[in-house]
């Protein structure tokens, strides 16, 4: 008997719902990622996949394996936790890197007041 057959109907419906929700959101995010025109717009597209896209698949997987194994399986949420905490770091670093690169090139992707670093006139240049 395949593992899918042992899942009762009352559990199959939420599992299917969350899987479809998660994968659809990921697909929409990827679609936006391929279609959006500027880099800063595209910076928003992956967050769909990493918030409810990942969340939906995690919840479905945890529900299904908890039933099949007969005990609470929550290790999927470790991945979810990891994704939720790490994606902002990647996106922030990429956003800042893109901003610095655009500034260095004087790119017209930035509005005029963003082309120089905002700082007080008498402050020394920031170092990090």
């Amino acid at each position: 008997m395949s593992p899918l057959q042992s899942v009762p109907l009352w559990l199959a419906i939420p599992v299917a719902f969350f899987v479809v929700l998660g994968s659809t959101l990921t697909l929409i995010g990827a679609l936006g990622f391929a279609r959006l025109q500027s880099f800063y717009d595209r910076l928003h597209a992956p967050t769909l996949a990493t918030s409810w896209g990942t969340g939906g698949v995690m919840i479905a997987s945890a529900l299904m394996f908890s039933f099949i194994e007969g005990r609470a399986i929550v290790h999927e949420f470790a991945i979810g936790f990891c994704i939720v905490l790490t994606t902002p770091i990647t996106l922030m670093m990429l956003g800042r890197a893109a901003l610095e690169r655009d500034r260095a090139e004087g790119s017209d992707a930035l509005p005029l007041d963003m082309r120089t670093r905002p700082q007080r006139p008498d402050d020394p240049p920031a170092q990090d």
């Binding site: 959101l25 929409i28 995010g29 679609l31 936006g32 279609r35 959006l36 500027s38 800063y40 717009d41 910076l43 928003h44 597209a45 967050t47 769909l48 990493t50 918030s51 409810w52 005990r71 929550v74 290790h75 949420f77 470790a78 936790f81 939720v84 905490l85 994606t87 902002p88 996106l91 922030m92 956003g95 800042r96 901003l99 930035l110 509005p111 963003m114 670093r117 905002p118 700082q119 007080r120 402050d123 920031a126």
Partner: protein
């Protein structure tokens, strides 16, 4: 005790993560505790400034607000992405002056704002205290000004400062 457990919350989280990844049993509990002790020492050698949390009571409220906000903005961004090209959406950079200065509060705010679809953290000037955000839908600029200035910032100040 402080020397044995320099970061009790971090160690507890690590033990819990270890038990989640393996299974809940006494053997794994002991092994996980030993590992989290070593990790706590290693972390305190790397980074000694310890986050001080003043009020725990606000954290559940913050988490609930965040979950609702993520659901709301997921729906909004999905709608905008599906009608892309026809809805006249423009994106914009907005600048928000922040009151909070504690690095931990800023880190939590950065995670909140980046994890929520629709806002991306672009730059924060430590000298000026001005946060630059990129927002996906420029017509919602007022909403983001309000949500950062009046919802998240007071809660983070309550928790950390």
């Amino acid at each position: 005790m402080i020397r044995l457990f320099p970061h009790p919350v971090l160690s507890l989280c690590l033990i819990f993560l270890w038990l989640m990844l393996t299974r809940f049993s006494l053997g794994y509990l002991i092994l996980g505790t030993a590992l989290s002790l070593v990790a706590g020492w290693a972390y305190s050698a790397l980074h000694s400034a310890k986050p001080r949390i003043r009020r725990w009571q606000t954290i559940p409220r913050l988490a609930a607000t965040l979950v609702l906000d993520i659901i709301r903005s997921n729906a909004a961004i999905t709608r905008l992405l599906l009608t892309e090209g026809r809805n006249g959406r423009t994106s914009a950079f907005i600048q928000i002056p922040l009151q909070i200065t504690s690095p931990n509060a800023l880190a939590v705010l950065a995670i909140i704002l980046t994890a929520t679809p629709g806002t991306a953290w672009v730059e924060y000037g430590t000298d000026t205290g001005i946060l630059t955000l990129h927002i996906f839908d420029a017509s919602e600029a007022d909403h983001y000004h309000r949500i950062v200035g009046q919802t998240y910032e007071p809660m983070l100040m309550e928790i950390f400062e």
